[in-house]
Amino acid sequence: MKWNALMIAVLMLLVQGTALVSAEPVHDREALFFKANEAYRAERFQEAAQTYEQLIDSGPVGGDVYYNLGNCYVKLHRFGPALLNYERAHVLIPRDADLAYNSNYTMKQTLDKIWPERHFLDNTFFWTDSLTLLETGMVFAVINVLLWTLLLIRLWRRSEWSFYALLVCTAVWFVSGAALGWKWYALAHDSRAVVVVDEARVLAGPDPQDTLLFKLHDGAMVVRERRESGWELIRVSKDKRGWIRADQLSAIRRTGDPSGDG
C-alpha cells in the first residue's frame, strides 16, 4: 500500500511539472512571432528586429527566433549584433544549415581577421558541437539506463557477454558523462562577446587616457576576462589583450541562461 501511494505521488509530481512548463501565454508569443516575420517580409527590418527582441525579452525562445533576429541585423548592416544572435541560435539549433550559411556570410563581412579560440576539451568532445545540451543529456541518459540495466542483470546472471557489454558501456558512460559535463560548463561559463559598434578602441587600462593598443570593429569576437567599472578586459588572442568599454560589447551568453536550453 505504501509503495502504491509513493508511486501515485511521484506520478502526480511529474504531471504537475509538465503542466507548469507548458502553462505559458503561447498565443501572444505566436502573434509577436508572426508579426515580426511579416515585418521582415515587408523589408521593415528595424521593426522586425524590435519585435523579435520583444519576443526574446518575454521569455525563453527557440533558436529560430535568434536566427531570424540575426537576419534582421544583417539586413540592417549591423554585423556585430547579427553574429551575436547567430551564436545564440547555434546553442539551440547547432545543426541548422541556414544558420551555418548565414553565419559564414556575416563572418565574411566583418573587418577583423580573428580565429576563435578553442579549448582542447572542445576538440576532445567535438561531437557536442553538433548537439544541444538537451541532446547531449539524452544521449547520456540512454547510456546511463543501459549501464545500470547491465549491472542489474549481472547481479543475478554473470554471463560473459554481459561482462564485455558492461566494460564497453562503462567506458561510453564516462565519456558521454564527461562530454555532458563539459557541454554544460562551456555553456554556463561562455565568456565570449561580440563587438557591436563600428569601431572599438582597446586600451592598455580601464581609462580613456590609457595607451591605445589596437582597434576592433563591428562583429569581432572576443573573450571577456574581467569587468571593472564600466570596462571589460578582453582577449583576442594570446598576444592581444586589453580593456574595452563594456557598452561596446555584447555577451553571447544571456544573463539567466546558464545552460542555453532546457
Binding site: Y40, V65, W148
Partner: protein
C-alpha cells in the same frame, strides 16, 4: 706657534662656528612655484620646488600631478646669506605637460629631513584645450604637415607627409598617433632625414609619410600631429671658465604641433559600375603572357597574368581564365606582393595556369579581364589582356604538369566539359517562419532527474534487497542450529525413539548445529568434524564412541531399559557438544 698664526686660527674657528650656527638656525622650508597659471593641453608648465634651510632633504613628492606628464628638469643647490644669516637651499625643476583640460591644484610638495616631514604651499593651474599655437618657421623647431589630396573616393589612399624642421640639438622624439574613427593610418617606411633651407636659415628635416584611407564615405577631420622631444639650447656666451664649460644646457622638453586637415571621402559612383567590380580602387595595369606558344599535345604551356598598381591593393581579385574546349587547365596558387611606396601601397598579384591541350590543334585562349575604379578620371575602367593562341602538335597526351592543382580541385573533372558553378551574387538565406521553432526544446526537470537517478536507485534497491535476503537466510541457519539440540532431546524423550531413529536424529543435529548441507558421515568423520569446529577432543571422542555403539545397537536392539539409558547418555553428550560448540 707664532701669536699671529694663533689669532688667524681662532678667527677662522670663530667664522666657521658662526657659519655653522647660522646654518643650524636657518629655518627649513619648502615652496613650490609655477611659471604660469593658465596653459593649454599642448603647453609645458615649469614647476620649481625650493627646499631651503637644508641640503640633505629627500627628493620632493608632489601631489596633484596625476593629470600631467611630469618630466624632471634637474636639481641645483645654492648657499646664500640673507641679513647676516646663511642658508642652504636646493631647487628642483619639473616640467608638467597637461593631459586634459581642467583646473588643477598642484601640491603640496613634501620632503623629509631626518625624522620630520615638511610640506609646501599649493598652486593652481587652469588647463584649456584651446588650439595649439602653430610653430612658425622663425622658431628653431617647427612641424609641418601636408596631405596629397583633400578629396578622395572610398578606400582611395591619400598620402600625409609630416616634416619636422629643427636647427638646434634635439633628442627623444616621439609622435602621438592619430586617432580618427573610421580612418586608417599606415606609415610608409622608416622616414627620411635631410637638410633644407627655410627663410635663408639651414634646417635639419625629418620626414615621415603616412597612407591615409577611409572605408566609409564622409568628412573626416584629421587633428594636428603633436610631436614631443627634448631640446638642448646652446649657450650664447662663454661661462666663467671660458670655453672649457661652453656647450649646451640640460635638455628641456618641447612639444610642437602641425596644422590639421579635413579629408572628404566620396562614395564610388553607382553609375557605370560593372557587374564584376570587386571594389578595386586605384591605378592598375594588367599583363598576360603565354609560354611557350607551341607545345606537343599532352604537354603544358603556362599562362601568366600580372595585375599590378597602386590603390587598395588588398582588394586585388583573383582573375579567371576561361580555357578553350579540349584544353585542361591547372591553376597555381596566386601570389600577392604589397609594398608601401611614396604614393601609397603598390601591389602586384601574379596568377599562373598550366594549359594542357589534349589533342593537336590550334587553341585560342580568351583574354583575361578585370574592372576597377580609376579615381583620377572618376570612372570605372576595364583592363583586358590580349587573346593568346596555343598551337599543339601531335604527341604525348598522358603528361600532367607537376606541382599544379588538379582540375578536380581547380576547375572541374578531367575530361568532362563541366564548369565550376559561378557565384553571381551573395545574400543570406531567409528567416524561419514556422512557429514550431518559437519555443526552446525543454524537458521537465523532474523527469530529467528521474531518468538520471532512477536507474542507480533501482540498482541500489536491488543490491539492498539481495543482501537482506542473504542475511535472512543465514539467520534461519543460526536459529535452526540453536534449536538443533532441543529437537534432538525432544526426539530422545519421545516413544518412537529407537537406535536407528536416534542415529538419524544425531546426524540431523550435527548438520543443523554445524550448518552443513547434510549427508552421511561415520563416527570417525564426525569426530574429525567436531574437533575441526573447535570441540574438546575428549567430548568428540565420547561422541564417536557413542555413535559406534549406536550403529552396533541398530543391528542388536536390546531391551527398553538399555535403549532408555542409551538415550539418556546421548542427551548428556548432545548437551556437552552443544555447549562445547558455543
Amino acid at each position: 706657534m707664532a701669536p699671529g698664526k694663533k689669532v688667524i686660527i681662532w678667527f677662522l674657528c670663530f667664522v666657521l662656528f658662526c657659519f655653522w650656527t647660522a646654518i643650524v638656525r636657518a629655518e627649513i622650508g619648502v615652496e613650490i612655484e609655477l611659471d604660469r597659471t593658465d596653459a593649454s593641453t599642448s603647453d609645458l608648465a615649469t614647476l620649481q620646488v625650493t627646499v631651503s634651510g637644508t641640503q640633505s632633504a629627500s627628493p620632493p613628492r608632489i601631489e596633484g600631478t596625476e593629470a600631467f606628464r611630469v618630466t624632471r628638469g634637474g636639481t641645483s643647490t645654492r648657499m646664500e646669506i640673507v641679513n647676516g644669516m646663511m642658508s642652504a637651499a636646493v631647487d628642483y625643476t619639473f616640467y608638467l605637460q597637461p593631459l586634459k583640460k581642467g583646473s588643477y591644484i598642484i601640491g603640496p610638495a613634501t620632503v623629509e629631513v631626518g625624522q620630520r616631514t615638511y610640506s609646501s604651499n599649493r598652486v593652481t593651474l587652469r588647463v584649456s584645450d584651446e588650439p595649439v599655437q602653430q610653430a612658425s618657421p622663425s622658431s628653431p623647431v617647427f612641424l609641418k604637415a601636408s596631405l596629397s589630396k583633400s578629396l578622395v573616393y572610398r578606400e582611395e589612399p591619400a598620402v600625409l607627409t609630416l616634416k619636422l624642421f629643427y636647427n638646434v640639438r634635439i633628442s627623444n622624439l616621439s609622435l602621438d598617433k592619430w586617432e580618427v574613427p573610421g580612418m586608417e593610418f599606415a606609415q610608409i617606411g622608416k622616414g627620411a632625414e635631410y637638410q633644407s633651407v627655410v627663410s635663408g636659415e639651414p634646417f635639419q628635416v625629418v620626414e615621415v609619410r603616412y597612407i591615409v584611407s577611409a572605408a566609409k564615405p564622409g568628412t573626416y577631420a584629421i587633428p594636428p600631429a603633436i610631436m614631443q622631444m627634448s631640446v638642448y639650447q646652446e649657450r650664447r656666451r662663454p661661462g666663467l671658465f671660458g670655453d672649457f664649460f661652453f656647450g649646451v644646457t640640460p635638455s628641456r622638453p618641447l612639444t610642437v604641433s602641425s596644422n590639421g586637415f579635413e579629408l572628404t571621402v566620396k562614395e564610388l559612383p553607382s553609375e557605370g559600375r560593372p557587374a564584376d567590380f570587386s571594389g578595386l580602387v586605384g591605378s592598375f595595369t594588367l599583363e598576360t603572357s603565354l609560354d611557350p606558344t607551341e607545345v606537343m599535345a599532352g604537354d603544358s604551356a603556362t599562362v601568366t597574368a600580372v595585375l599590378s598598381g597602386t590603390g587598395n591593393v588588398r582588394r586585388i581579385p583573383e582573375l579567371r581564365l576561361q580555357e578553350p574546349a579540349g584544353v585542361k587547365k591547372y591553376a597555381d596558387q596566386p601570389s600577392l606582393d604589397i609594398k608601401p611606396e611614396n604614393d601609397g601601397y603598390f601591389g602586384k598579384k601574379t596568377m599562373k595556369w598550366a594549359l594542357v591541350p589534349k589533342n593537336a590543334g590550334t587553341y585560342t585562349i580568351p583574354s583575361i579581364s578585370v574592372s576597377y575604379f580609376e579615381p583620377v578620371d572618376g570612372a570605372y575602367k576595364r583592363l583586358s589582356g590580349r587573346p593568346m593562341v596555343l598551337t599543339a602538335k601531335p604527341g604525348n597526351i598522358t603528361a600532367k604538369p607537376e606541382g599544379w592543382l588538379s582540375p578536380e580541385t581547380s576547375e572541374g573533372k578531367i575530361g568532362s566539359q563541366k564548369k565550376e558553378v559561378e557565384l553571381l551574387g551573395e545574400d543570406i538565406l531567409p528567416i524561419h517562419r514556422s512557429a514550431a521553432g518559437l519555443n526552446p526544446p525543454s524537458m521537465n526537470p523532474i523527469l530529467v532527474w528521474t531518468v538520471f537517478l532512477f536507474p542507480p536507485f533501482l540498482f541500489a534497491g536491488a543490491v539492498a534487497s539481495r543482501t537482506l535476503l542473504r542475511r535472512n537466510r543465514s539467520k534461519t541457519h543460526v536459529l535452526r542450529a540453536r534449536k538443533a539440540a532441543a529437537g534432538f532431546i525432544a526426539h530422545c524423550k519421545s516413544d518412537e525413539c529407537d537406535a536407528a531413529s536416534l542415529l538419524n536424529a544425531w546426524r540431523r543435529f550435527i548438520s543443523e548445529r554445524l550448518t552443513l548441507p547434510g549427508g552421511y558421515f561415520g563416527p570417525a568423520e564426525c569426530e574429525a568434524l567436531l574437533i575441526r569446529k573447535g570441540l574438546d577432543e575428549k567430548v568428540a571422542e565420547n561422541a564417536r564412541n557413542l555413535m559406534e555403539q549406536l550403529e552396533y545397537t541398530v543391528f542388536s536392539p536390546g531391551n527398553t531399559d538399555a535403549r532408555s539409558r542409551l538415550a539418556q547418555e546421548w542427551i548428556r553428550v548432545v548437551k556437552k557438544v552443544d555447549k562445547g560448540l558455543k
